[in-house]
Symmetry: C2
Subunit: 322 residues, 2 copies
Amino acid sequence: MNIDAIEAAAARLAGHARRTPLLSSPFLDEIAGRPVHVKAECLQHTGSFKFRGAWSAISALPEGTRGVIAFSSGNHAQGVALAAKLHGLPSVIIMPSDAPALKRANTAALGAEVILYDRATEDRDAIGERLAEERGLSLVRPFDDAQVIAGQGTCGLEIAAQAAELGIERATMLTCCGGGGLTSGIALALEARAPGIKVRTVEPEDSDDVARSLAAGELLRNAFQSRSICDAIITPAAGKLTFPIMQRLCGPGLSVRDEECLKAVALAFLRLKIVLEPGGAAALAAALFHGDALDDGPVIVTASGGNVDPAIFARALETLPD
Amino acid sequence: MNIDAIEAAAARLAGHARRTPLLSSPFLDEIAGRPVHVKAECLQHTGSFKFRGAWSAISALPEGTRGVIAFSSGNHAQGVALAAKLHGLPSVIIMPSDAPALKRANTAALGAEVILYDRATEDRDAIGERLAEERGLSLVRPFDDAQVIAGQGTCGLEIAAQAAELGIERATMLTCCGGGGLTSGIALALEARAPGIKVRTVEPEDSDDVARSLAAGELLRNAFQSRSICDAIITPAAGKLTFPIMQRLCGPGLSVRDEECLKAVALAFLRLKIVLEPGGAAALAAALFHGDALDDGPVIVTASGGNVDPAIFARALETLPD
C-alpha cells in the first residue's frame, strides 16, 4: 500500500464522492484551548466516509463483475448499496435480523437486496459464501482491503490540501477508529503529502483494541462485546492490512467515554451545524476533552459519520445548557 | 448593482468566507419527485450566509474606519461581530433586551459590544444614531445596502459554478427570503452566470410581504407581527434596493407553513446531516412539499442558516416517524 493507490482511487472517485469541508468554530477552539479543524465526512454521500472505500473497491472490480455483497448493519452497508447502484451493479447486504429498521429501510431504498440472518442460530459467513458463489458476487470488505483503504485515504489527501490552504504544517490528526480503514488510509496519505501531521486513533473506552494493540506491538482483540453507543466504530479487532500501517505511522491511541461523545455531538450541532453520530464524534470529543494527552498545536479530527437515531440525538442535545 | 460588484465582493471574501457545499440525497429527490440540491449556508462562518454580506460591507469601508454598528438580534449580529473582529475593528450590536440569551452570549463572545434596549420604551434608531455619531461608527445594514447585497451574491456565484459542475443549465432556485438581500444577490449572480436558473422567493405564510409585493408590483409591508417560528426571515418589508432587483428577476413568490419548515429541518437532519433553523429550511420545505407550484426540472434551494434553539430542533425531530 502506498500513495499511488490512494491517488488512483482519488482519480476514480473524482466527480462521484464529495470533497467535504474542513470546518471550525472559535467556540470549539476556546473549549479545546487550540485550533480545532473538523473534516465533515458526515456530509459525504450516505452520511459517512464509507462511500469512499465502497466506490474505490467497486470501481476497481474487473469488467464482467456480476454484483457485490457485503456484511454490515451500518454505514458500510449504505455506502456499498449506493456505490453499487451508481455502477449499475446489484448488491446484496447481509444484516443481522435485529438491525435497526431505519438502517434496513435505507439500505434497501438505496437499491440493495437486504438479507437478514439470525445472529443466534445462523452463520453469517456461510450465508455470504453460498450467495457469493451461487450468484457470482464479489465481496466488499468493510476495512481490510487495499482498495477500501485507498478509498478512505482520499479523505487524507483532501485533509492534506485543506491544511496547506490554512497554512498548517504541523498538527495532530485524530481519527474515529473501528477496523482502521479510515485511519490507515489517512495515515498513508498524510505520510506522503503532509508529513508534519501525525495521526492518533480515538476509540470508545470499552472497545479500545487498537490503542492496546499499538501499546502491545501486536494485534489484540476486544475481550467482550462493547456496550458503547459508538456502534459505528466498534469492531472485534483491526485488520491484517490496517494494523501494520497504523503501527508504523500512528502515535499512542486515545479513548473517550460515551458521555464525552454525546457532548461532542451536541457541540457539533451548536457550533458547526453538522449532525454526527456518537462514534463519528469520538475524535472531536478527544480534541475537546483530552487535550492534555496531545502535543501542542492545532488538531484536525474526522467527523466520520452522521447516521444517528433521532432519539440518541435528542439525548445529546440535553447535554447543552439551557 | 451588477455582476461586477459581486465579483469584487468575491475577491474580498476569498480565503475568508467558506465555499459551502451543494448537497443532495436520493431520499429527498424521491419526496420532491425531482432532483433537489441544497446550498448549505448553515455551514458558513457564524452559521448563516450573513457572514458574506457583513464581510463584504466591512471590507469595503474606507481606511480609517473606527468601528461598525448594527441592529440585529439574530444571524446578522453574529456575522457582523465576527467579520468586524477579523478586520480588527470594534463592533457594537444593538439588540432588544428580550433577545435570546444564547444569541446575546454568542454575539458578545465573537467580540461585539452588545447594547440592549427596551422595545416598548426606547427608540432603537435614536440609540444607534447617537452611538454612531459619538464613536464614529459605520452602520452595517442587514440587507438594503449595495455591498451587503454583493456579498450575499457571492453565494449565487458559487451556485452557478456548482450547478455547471453538475451539468444543470435550467432549474428553479428557491431562496429563503426576509429583506431580500440574499435573494437579490443570488438573482443578480445567476442572471449573469447561469441565466437558465430562475429565482423564486419562499416566505412564512403570515409574513409573505415579498410574494404580495411581487404580485402587486409595489413594495408592501406586513400588516402585523408574524408569529412564525421562522424568525430569521421575518422582516417588516423588503428594501428599496432589494425589491426592484427581485421585481425584475424573480418569479411569483411562494409561502410555507411552520409545520412544513419543521419537517424540512427534520429531513435535512436525517438525509443531509446538516442543522437548519426553521427559517433556513423554508426553501427546502417549498421544494419538498409545494412541487406542484414549480416548473418541471431540478430545484436548488438555499439552506440559509442553522442557528436554531435545541428545543425547537428537538420539536422538529418529533415529526420523524419512529
